[in-house]
């Protein structure tokens, strides 16, 4: 399977975008994954679920200003990438 670095960047952007668009009210709270339900114990052991919730919340906070990906931004990136990949014989 020929992965390129560009594929990696693409995958990373898509994954972060997927985490960023999870809606707080409609979805996460219904599933018991809301932001207020994770901080349970202040002991020494946060647990896997609390860590995952922390991660989701921080990704959403960071990406709040940049959900550019969902708009034409991603399409522009894709076109740019294809042009680069077409013009170069190597596609790193």
């Amino acid at each position: 399977m020929a992965f390129t670095l560009y594929t990696l960047i693409q995958t990373a952007i898509l994954c972060i975008n997927a985490i960023a668009v999870l809606h707080e009210e409609r979805f996460l709270s219904k599933m018991g994954w809301g932001a207020d339900q994770g901080v349970g114990g202040f002991g020494d052991d946060p647990g896997v679920k609390a860590q995952i919730l922390n991660l989701i919340r921080s990704v959403r906070t960071v990406m709040r200003g940049g959900v550019v990906v969902n708009s034409g931004g991603y399409r522009v990136l894709q076109l740019l990438g294809e042009r680069i990949c077409d013009n170069a014989s190597w596609c790193i």
Binding site: M1, A2, T4, L55, S89, I92
Partner: protein, 308 residues
């Protein structure tokens, strides 16, 4: 050098000091581009020195008249100070992105260490003591401790893997120079993804460990040694040899990773082999097992398409 026999005094010492300044600044950055007549100043350094002692006799290399003019002397000192400043700025800014001083630690190896480490990678079953020794809170350099991770072997193994992959493709008439780049980027991407996955799982399980990212890159790079030997065995002796050597090296890297990570990830008691109950220790044990089990999978995945 008979400079000590020549005239002594304040000016002599000042000249020597200037000479050393010039020496260090010419050797440091690419001094050839900063000073116009490095060819006269470089190898003819000793010549200029002796000429200074012989007094202002003009029958010498052009460096002598260059040096006796105070204005150009001043210009040279100013230029060398500019060069040193520039170099310091570049070093400081580069150090912010790539921790060069930390990287130097990982390349502090010698031949004995490399030999022993390769031996442990191939046959980890006899090695008894897997602990990394520390020296006042910092791990000892790999030169002094076989168990310390290094980056020399993984880097060399990675590059050798790319070359051997090119060789394997060439023997099957599937080679073209672009394929080397494709192989390289593909293997690099798998490495990055593996390191990211390990980092993510370490974060989720909240392990308090002193494993740095570079340590993880080093551990992920150790499997390339087995892959290289597997591919070469497959090229020389056929598919059976490939499967046998891959089996051997998968087992070896599995044991190696478990024994190395056990000391870093698990708590003290569990690392010594006692059964410690509790979900946290169980999670950590699973994490160690899965990291170690992912290595043979990657080894097979990255090499099977090379042996047809």
């Amino acid at each position: 050098m008979d400079y000590s026999a020549a005239q002594s005094g304040f000016r002599q010492r000042k000249l020597q000091h200037n000479m050393r300044l010039r020496n260090s600044s010419v050797d440091g950055p690419d001094g050839g581009q900063l000073f116009d007549d490095t060819s006269a100043a470089g190898p003819a350094n000793q010549g200029v020195y002796r000429n200074q002692q012989a007094g202002p006799q003009a029958a010498g290399p052009p460096g002598q008249s260059f040096l006796s003019d105070p204005m150009s002397n001043l210009a040279m000192v100013y230029g060398s100070s500019l060069a040193t400043q520039g170099r310091e700025m570049v070093d400081k800014n580069l150090d912010r992105f790539i921790p060069i001083s930390k990287l130097k630690y990982y390349f502090a190896v010698d031949t004995v260490y490399v030999g022993k480490k390769l031996g442990i990678l191939v046959f980890p079953y006899m090695h008894k003591n897997w602990e990394v020794s520390y020296q006042q809170d910092t791990p000892v350099a790999p030169r002094f401790d076989v168990n310390a991770p290094d980056l020399y072997i993984p880097t060399m193994a990675f590059i050798t893997y790319i070359l051997v992959a090119g060789l394997a493709l060439g023997t099957q008439n599937r080679f073209s120079p672009e394929l080397l780049g494709v192989q390289a980027s593909s293997a690099l991407v798998w490495l990055i993804m593996e390191v990211l996955a390990v980092l993510l799982s370490l974060y989720l399980v909240t392990v308090n460990t002193d494993l740095t990212t570079i340590d993880l890159v080093a551990f992920s790079g150790y499997k390339y040694v087995g892959m290289i030997i597997g591919i070469i065995a497959g090229l020389l002796f056929g598919r059976l040899a490939y499967y046998l050597s891959m089996l051997w090296f998968c087992g070896a890297i599995f044991v190696f990773m478990i024994r190395t990570l056990r000391l870093k990830l698990l708590s003290e008691a569990a690392a010594e082999g006692k059964l410690v109950r509790g979900t946290r220790n169980q999670l950590r044990m699973y994490l160690t097992m899965s990291i170690a089990a992912a290595q043979p999978v990657f080894m097979y995945w990255l090499t099977y398409h090379l042996i047809r």
